[in-house]
Amino acid sequence: MNNQRSFFFNVDWITVLIYLALCTIGWFNIHAAVYDETHPSIIDPATQYGKQFIWIIGGVVLGGVVLLLDSRFFSALTPVFYSVTLVLLVLVLVVGRNVGGNQAWIAIGTFRLQPSEFAKYSTCLLLARYLSSVNVKVTELKSLLIALMIIFVPMIMIKMQPDDGSTLVFCSLIFVLYREGLSANVLILAGIFIALFIFGLLMKPIYIIGAILIIAGTAIAIFRRNKKIILLTSAAMVLSIAFILTVPFIYTHIIKEHQRVRIDEWLGRASNLKGAGYNVNQSKIAIGSGKLWGKGYLQGTQTRFSFVPEQSTDFIFCTVGEEWGFAGSVTVVGLYLFLILRIIYLAERQRSPFSRIYGYGVACVIFFHFFINIGLTIGAVPVIGIPLPFVSYGGSSLWSFTLLLFTLIKLDSNRMGAINS
């Protein structure tokens, strides 16, 4: 009895509420996005919104089951999860169904399983388990390499599908490594490389090289007494210049045609509103025409008259922006930010490193999905097809995120217990 009560109070109900709020928002917006006059009921199982209702109920049940399991279960079974995921990822390449160019689904009866969704979960778990092991430190090269291996193996297999969006999600785990001791320089370097890549596409290399030389020269002049900084700066400078010069090559030879088109559209290097740029343009029109309060539930013209493709999945945020306006946008963005900060807060209050590292993994994955998904609907990032957690239509996505989140809540609810695995 006492145990039961403590369990109840130990569950972080705030996170659960945000979860339910996001699921509900998703459900209603899917209703609006694919509203069918012949099936107006929001729980009609013939429609996507009816199905999403079932997924949500399933998700809540799944969350409950997770909360009832023993905490040690997750840590103990982590290697099994990871192995099963890898098997599934191999399997999907062999027997998977190809939908929209991605071999990402395994059909089991009417249910379609997307192994890449669960790969995020098992990778976070294994990463947490490994990094929390005794004698493992990210600051050590060997440990770091093994940690990177854990991330790269599923990532590469997903890339083979080739599901670019899910592949990139794994990159967000760099923040987990950073939190556990990865040098800040790596993060800075990653940031610099992304920036250089973008600038490299927008400007002539000569200007960027000039800018790099000026910045590096200034840095060296200021820290002329500090040999270490001079050395680092010089190295960064040389690397940067080398990178800038290879950007055109990378862009034309490594990045694929369809990705190039999306990047070109995003950066305004090309504009084809009837072709590659159609989705984002219509999506921006939908969101932009929502103004402050939106057009009202089921009243968005862009939404109702299907101007935005894939509106119940990757472009679900259009419906929010169009029908609920800026007020709705702020609410949704606010909920996500609050959720992610809450997760970090939960992670930091764990006594067990396993729980903490796992918590950061959850925060990173959810944040990446949130940022990229909303960003692409307003043209802030290139189009990378990944769902909005808890909101986009789809059972695999919803359940894997539920698993991801509720495992953390479960671990958190047990944080006072003797966890020492």
Partner: protein, 661 residues
């Protein structure tokens, strides 16, 4: 917690900054940038124009002259097309296999999901055959359109035709018309375009991304209703219009009949005409080309565009002016011995009428009498006053509607021609011209030219004893039956009422026992005047003008049959049948044996000069319009060359155009 605890703030910071970046971008596109709102509206809002039905046109007794007929456009939505029996479709629509493929390809390039026209203007019968089997042709649907149809195939030039607007129409209308609209091109369709066309309606609808209409915009708040075109009630009498077209079959010329008490045109025949139904439907283009190649130019609206010397039919008018001027009284006599001498040039008369008074002169169409009267008129107050006398005479003739447009409600009316004194000044180098110079005007020849409408109008004036109403084709417009004000204004010609009776006596005598005696209608007193206009393009034009009955006249008529012979021979019997049909609704056979059937069967089309290439139809097309005029001008021009040497010669040339009756 470990050594890197503070890094949580870095990570949190990065996440917060990125989330705020998203929010600021959302703030910009949702609250600052307005163009997305416009784009969203542009995406979904579709204005659909609803075309009004064009007003129908009725005859004076409410019989339909032109109405709208439903035809069907076969539309195709390429996406919905399933494999079908091409051959069967070809048979149903009357097209060939290559045509099917071509049309499908065209539709496909237009849109896969929107309907486009596959075959236009299918008549009901073909459409019924198609629609019975339409389940075999998925993706094909019929859409009703309306086109003009003419149940009796009459009055083509009167009604005119509609045509798709061209760039000039669009420009001139200041954007009212849009590409694909129809506009009245000729005839009543053109003159009453504003009433007939109605008002377009607009429906604002919301469409989806494929362009398919989903629902009304703002519940139709900004829609405008379509207003059908006004029906027109024309003054035409379908019975005599049909009869007239029959009588004028295979002849070149016109019939114009007017109700004197109102100015309403009862019959308006231009021959050769064409079947107005040829100007509608799928074969329209071909028919149009075919008709414009016709050397007799069926598009020429002869009643208002052709100009003829009125010939002897002008004599009553001559007489009225002389009476009003006091030159003669009904009792004044001149002695006719078969020739009138204008200077030393003779104007022959058909008979030796002997001592002739006014009525007899009209009845016998005595050239000597009228030349003498005209000579006195021009020399009133001495021969030096010829010029002012002429100007005075011209003014009086103009009052009858000669030499200016009568203002009929049809486009392209001709003015006719009454010579101006300057014309003679030019020809005769100053004002050294005398009555003998243009004595032929006395008998309606010379430079004088009038349209058949003007000639019929003169009969109205005589029938009304001194006034006319503007001849018009449309009695009433719309359901309220509005009549144009200008058609209710009485136009006086400045001749006292008392002078008409003697003239009318003479005209009655023309039919009772004069030149047109063979065309007397049993039981009806018709007053008329024959005319035979000379021209140098072959035989004379046969002219007859009349009104009937003498008391309380109901119909005034002018008939011209080009190059057919004397007035009494063709124009008079034709006019008599028209009058009889109108007044009695039946016809009797003339003792002369010229039945309606016989008249209709006669082919009086002027022979085309074989050496003149038929491929140059323009010369022939302008035949009626220019023939007389060019004759006159040619003569004047050639005369002016000779004038220096011998003015008398010119008089000879002029008066060569004399009358024989």
């Amino acid at each position: 917690m470990n050594n890197f605890f503070e890094r949580r703030y870095v990570i949190q910071g990065i996440f917060i900054v990125m989330a705020l970046a998203l929010l600021s971008r959302l703030f910009y596109i949702q609250l600052i940038d307005d163009h997305y709102t416009a784009s969203a509206k542009y995406n979904v809002l579709k204005r659909i124009t609803i075309f009004p039905t064009r007003g129908a046109i009725f005859d004076r007794n409410g019989r339909v002259l032109v109405r709208n007929e439903a035809v069907y456009d076969i539309m195709v939505i390429p996406r919905e097309v399933k494999p079908f029996d091409t051959l069967k479709l070809c048979q149903l629509l009357g097209i060939d296999k290559a045509g099917v493929e071509k049309r499908l390809r065209k539709a496909f390039t237009y849109s896969r999901v929107l309907p486009s026209a596959f075959e236009k203007q299918l008549p009901l019968r073909s459409y019924t055959a198609f629609s019975e089997l339409s389940y075999e042709f998925r993706g094909f649907t019929g859409v009703q359109r309306s086109v003009r149809t003419y149940p009796d195939s009459v009055a083509a030039q009167f009604l005119g035709y509609v045509d798709e607007v061209n760039d000039r129409d669009i420009q001139r209308s200041h954007g009212y018309y849009k590409r694909g609209d129809y506009i009245g091109r000729t005839g009543v369709e053109r003159a009453y375009e504003d009433s007939l066309r109605g008002q377009r309606g607009v429906q604002n609808s919301l469409v989806d991304s494929k362009g398919v209409v989903k629902e009304k915009y703002l519940n139709g708040l900004e829609d405008t209703a379509v207003v059908a075109g006004d029906p027109l009630i024309s003054s035409l009498d379908l019975r005599i219009q049909k009869l007239g077209e029959k009588l004028m079959h295979n002849k070149v010329g016109s019939i114009v009949a007017i109700e004197p008490s109102t100015g309403e045109i009862l019959a308006f025949i231009s021959s050769p005409g064409y079947d107005p139904n040829l100007m509608v439907g799928r074969a329209r283009g071909n028919n149009l080309v075919e008709l414009s190649k016709n050397p007799y130019n069926p598009f020429f609206v002869r009643p208002i565009q052709a100009k003829y010397p009125p010939g002897s039919s002008f004599k009553p008018l001559s007489a009225l002016i002389a009476l009003q001027e006091g030159i003669i009284t009904p009792q004044t006599t001149f002695t006719c011995n078969g020739v009138y001498w204008a200077g030393n040039h003779p104007v022959a008369c058909t008979h030796h009428h002997g001592v002739t008074n006014l009525s007899r002169a009209i009845a016998g169409s005595c050239n000597v009498y009228f030349c003498s009267v005209f000579d006195e008129l021009m020399n009133e107050n001495g021969s030096q006053n010829t010029r002012p006398n002429f100007i005075d005479w011209k003014g009086k003739v103009n009052l009858f509607g000669f030499g200016s447009k009568l203002g009929i409600d049809l486009p392209h009316e001709s003015k006719g021609y009454v010579p101006i004194p300057e014309r003679y000044d030019k020809v005769f180098r100053g004002s050294k011209w005398r009555s003998s110079t243009f004595i032929s005007l006395a008998i309606g020849q010379g430079e004088l030219e009038a349209t058949p409408l003007q000639m019929a109008n003169i009969e109205c004036v005589i029938a009304n004893h001194g006034y006319f109403y503007k001849p018009h084709l449309i009695k009433a417009v719309g359901d309220k039956q509005v009549i144009r004000k200008e058609f209710k204004v009485q136009n006086n010609v400045g001749i006292d009422q008392k002078y008409f009776e003697p003239v009318i006596d003479g005209m009655q005598e023309v039919v009772e026992g004069g030149t047109a005696a063979a065309s007397k209608i049993p039981g009806i007193i018709m007053c008329g005047k024959t005319g035979t206009a000379q021209n140098n393009h072959g035989k004379n034009h046969s002219i007859f003008v009349a009104f009937a009955p003498r008391d309380n006249p109901k119909i005034a008529i002018a008939v011209i049959v080009e190059n057919s012979g004397q007035g009494a021979e063709w124009a008079a019997p034709i006019a008599s049948y028209m009058v009889e049909k109108y007044l009695k609704d039946t016809t009797t056979t003339r003792p002369s044996g010229k039945t309606i059937e016989w008249l209709s069967a006669q082919n009086l089309l002027p022979a085309l000069k074989t050496d003149a290439p038929v491929a140059d139809p323009k010369k022939i097309i302008t035949d009626s319009l220019k023939k007389v005029q060019t004759d006159s001008t040619k003569q004047i021009k050639s005369a002016s060359r000779k004038a220096k040497r011998d003015t008398k010669n010119l008089v000879a040339v002029q008066t060569k155009r004399k009358e024989h009756e």
